[in-house]
């Protein structure tokens, strides 16, 4: 019986388990889980603080998931090393687990810059895990002032999640705009204005120079008093296990379309791994949940002897703040065209006959039609792209294509 081992217990691990089981119903599956929780959805931690979900509903798969899939879970145990010569994972509790096929799904961790005086801050938190969210929650109070370092996806979702539970929220970032990883300057200012109207204060193009107890002294000289500090500067892929075992690593673990690493019988998936961004034509870490699941599933299928490839990954995000929704996908090179109507923004980035990326703010209905044009590299000359710029509709396709889409099995 084949022995599968998965390091990690997040979305990529679930994808891997379901991928394995789609091919091999009986093989032995061991999950090494550093966190003691049943698999939960990481991106829901801000919704948890906001009261839109709870610990029960945050479970990414139902209670009986591991049993139904015949998985042994080593809970609260971390992998210390991969002994790839002997196909063995060494555990931090002194034990070890042998594998025939291994999936590294170790995720990422918060990156905390070496701020001077950070050790003088009493209440400081990261915002990645459920335990982070629970710890932060215990420090929240109706009158407390929160400083969030980082105006990216994590920092801003945190700001939204805690906003109604605290006195004030200030967000600073070294970048000169919010959501700099997914928005250009003009779109970022639309989102920033919306957040400011709701009452969030921003200090952009500025970062903490040093901390003095309950105050941050900014590079600009401004002094920001706070009660609670959240550090959401960025994340780093957990690549060490593969690197120390001699595997190829860049910013993330290097994998091919089958999610195989350079090590024999070792696959990798999720936020720890790189992937090929089909919209940019380059490898990068695509640290988004759908990508983690899809990589994990492809890895699992291949680990079990099936055949699967993931060759159309693209960056994409759907994120909302206080009722304003934003969707982005692909890359933003090439030519940009914009439509604005009733406060909605639609920006499209094209390169020749291909849609490469888009940014939508406000009306995001049916945006998946745009996403599919990028993923499937649909020649824009075969669709009514002028119409598409105003409204995402299946009308942009030819009648023949529509007949296939809505009259056939897809």
């Amino acid at each position: 019986m084949k022995r599968y081992v998965i390091i990690g217990n997040g979305t990529a691990a679930v994808g891997c388990i379901e991928g394995i089981r789609s091919v091999d119903k009986t093989g032995d599956v061991t999950v090494i889980s550093g966190e003691k929780h049943h698999v939960y959805s990481r991106p829901l931690i801000s919704y948890y603080l906001e009261g839109k979900t709870d610990l029960e509903r945050m479970k990414y798969r139902p209670e009986g998931f591991y049993e139904e899939n015949g998985c042994r879970v080593l809970s609260g145990v971390r992998a210390a090393a991969i002994d790839s010569a002997n196909k063995n994972v060494v555990l931090d509790n002194g034990g070890s687990v042998e594998y025939d096929a291994l999936c590294v799904a170790t995720g990422s961790r918060p990156f905390v810059p070496p701020f001077a005086g950070l050790d003088t801050v009493e209440k400081k938190f990261s915002f990645m895990t459920l335990d982070d969210a629970l710890a932060l929650e215990s420090a929240l109070a109706p009158d407390c002032r929160v400083l969030i370092v980082g105006a990216g996806l994590i920092g801003l979702k945190c700001a939204e999640g805690i906003f109604d539970r605290v006195g004030s929220v200030t967000v600073c970032d070294l970048a000169d705009r919010v959501l700099s990883s997914i928005l250009d300057a003009e779109c970022a200012s639309v989102v920033q204005e919306h957040l400011e109207e709701k009452g969030i204060r921003f200090l952009l193009g500025d970062s903490a120079d040093r901390f003095e107890g309950n105050a941050a002294v900014m590079k600009s000289g401004e002094r920001v008093e706070f009660d609670v500090l959240v550090l959401a500067v960025g994340v780093r892929a957990n690549t060490e296990l593969v690197k120390e075992a001699g595997g190829e690593v860049n910013r993330g673990v290097v994998v091919n379309e089958s999610e195989q690493t350079s090590l024999d019988s070792v696959w990798a998936a999720g936020d720890c791994a790189e992937g090929f961004d089909a919209s940019a034509g380059a490898n990068r870490v695509l640290a988004i949940l759908p990508n983690a699941y899809m990589q994990g599933r492809v890895a699992g299928i291949n680990m079990a002897g099936g055949e699967a490839a993931f060759d159309n990954a693209i960056p994409m995000n759907s994120i909302g703040f206080f009722g304003l929704h934003i969707m982005t996908a692909g890359s933003y090179g090439g030519e940009m065209t914009e439509e604005r109507e009733d406060g909605n923004v639609r920006r499209f980035f094209t390169d020749g006959d291909l849609l490469k990326g888009y940014i939508l703010i406000g009306d995001t209905g049916r945006a998946g039609i745009y996403t599919s044009l990028i993923r499937e590299k649909t020649p824009l000359s075969t669709v009514d792209f002028e119409f598409a710029k105003k409204y995402a509709s299946n009308l942009i396709f030819s009648q023949e294509i529509r007949r296939k889409r809505f009259g056939g099995v897809v």
Partner: protein, 146 residues
Amino acid sequence: MKRVYVNEEWCLGCHLCEYNCAYANSGLSDMAVALKDKKIFPRIRVDGEDRITFAVSCRHCEDPLCVKSCIAGAISKIDGVVKIDRDRCVGCLTCVLVCPYGALAPGENGTMQKCELCLENACGEPACVTGCPNRAIVYEERGGAE
């Protein structure tokens, strides 16, 4: 398995499918009480304009991107039907971001809803199909897995 299929050339653009869907999923036994003077949130929508119209609802894909992409793990495929657990949905719209057909939209309370073929409401088969006056949408077997 049986799915809802579209005969585009027969669609009159009458939107009856939308009303029948909203009524079927309202849980109410009086259509007027369910729909009159209310904004409706049907799980099937007539797309297109002018002379070209067609109804769009979930395709129950063989390999559904929404299931793989849902950040809450709230969408699953059970016995060939793609279903959403609206109690777990947080309304992040990631399913809208990935669905190539534009088949999902938020309901009245902001959580997502989608066509589940009326298998779990009182109709037992798609109300949009039953009520379509011109057979522009049909519920039938056209091959494929599951």
